[in-house]
Amino acid sequence: MQATHYIAAAEFCSSHQVELTFIHELQQNDLLELSAEGQELLISEEQISVLEKIVRLHFDLEINLEGIAAILPLLERVESLQREMTALRNKLGRYEDI
């Protein structure tokens, strides 16, 4: 079984210059899953890259949370299609080699 690593939400906020209320807002909008240990809110390692992406989309591009909620699943779909395309290209390459 693989261990899950966590980072304190407060530490993330300090490092990325965002308010803790923003993290709460993401949680309320089902954009982020948080864990807790006592009073301390924790973010899992796998959620960090998603959270960093949300921070960039929200603060750099001024996309509101509703927009981000729509964008994230579409991006997942794009990446899944890109993976599928790579697999199909490899398959096609095999026939072209014959």
């Binding site: 990325h16 992406k53 989309l57 603060f59 095999r94």
Partner: protein
């Protein structure tokens, strides 16, 4: 060094208002932002240009300087001579190739930009202070036999040696992310990531289809007719297998677990498919011909 027309990049003319610039930047940034264009190097490059154009035109002071000197870039030598002794902020330093880096928040400046304004800091970001380092993209070519086993390789990325473990079963075109191996962050911000795209060159007689391997196995006519034991090559070495009597040409034999390793699933392998190719004898002796004639008449 090539002159960069920041107005053209943002699709504006020189009379554009600051509000026009803000709107054009916002529109183009949303279109080309790396987060919204995964694995699209051209979008990343465009985004760097847009960012740089906004860094200059979005700041009235920088825009003024750009408007003043930018159009006269061809006379850089005269400016340099006139500006000697004025410190590092001289417009137009020495030449160099136009260069856009891959990052977003920091390090996005071309040589043209830096010659005019010094090192870019990403100061127009709303979140001032710490910035994540830029992501690096790298390509790595492997032979199929290298991709068959988990192994370590040392890569040199931007002058730094990085030792990475490449898991067995990696696919051609697959991209892996090495967190924190990009450029260092600014002011204590997190480092960027390193993305490596693998290009797998097939140096074997096997065709790979996902985790399965395919190849042909040539047997002689007598083994095909009477059956027998033959040796077949696999990527892990040679194996012995029995051929049933009266095996037809193009018969497919599956060797379970003798294919390619399943990515990140230790001990799991795909299958190896052997397509039988029967080789007919040539240069028959007269005795062999007689015997075949007898057979054909039976």
């Amino acid at each position: 060094m090539e002159f960069i027309d920041y107005y053209k990049i943002l699709g504006l003319d020189k009379n554009a208002s600051q509000e026009d610039i803000r709107k054009a930047y916002r529109k183009l940034a949303r279109k080309h932002h790396p987060d919204l264009n995964p694995n699209d190097a051209e979008a990343h490059r465009r985004f760097q240009q847009i960012n740089e154009a906004n860094e200059v035109l979005g700041d009235p002071e920088k825009r003024k300087k750009y408007d003043q000197y930018g159009k006269d870039w061809q006379h850089a030598d005269q400016f340099e001579k006139a500006g000697q002794g004025q410190g590092p902020q001289q417009p137009f330093g020495s030449g160099g190739q136009q260069f856009y880096t891959e990052g977003f928040e920091e390090g996005f400046a071309s040589d043209f930009f830096e010659s005019l304004f010094g090192h870019a800091t990403g100061s127009r970001s709303r979140r001032t202070g710490r910035f994540r380092g830029q992501d690096y993209e790298a390509g790595l070519q492997l032979n199929l036999t290298d991709a068959y086993i988990t192994h370590q390789q040392t890569l040199t990325v931007n002058g730094k040696n990085i030792r990475i473990t490449i898991p067995a079963g990696i696919e051609n075109g697959q991209k892996i992310r090495l967190k924190g191996h990009g450029a260092p962050g600014v002011n204590g911000g997190p480092s960027g990531d390193l993305y490596i795209t693998f290009s797998i060159h097939n140096n074997t007689a096997f065709r790979r289809s996902g985790d399965d391997l395919h190849t042909t196995l040539t047997i002689d006519l007598y083994t095909a007719l009477l059956g027998g034991e033959v040796t077949a090559d696999t990527l892990a070495g040679k194996v012995k297998l029995k051929i049933k009597p009266e095996t037809q040409n193009d018969t497919r034999i599956r060797l379970k677990g003798k294919g390619f390793p399943v990515y990140k699933k230790e001990g799991e392998y795909g299958d190896l498919y052997l397509t039988i190719q029967v080789q007919l004898p040539t240069n028959l002796t007269s005795q062999q011909k007689d015997l075949f004639t007898q057979l054909s008449k039976m």
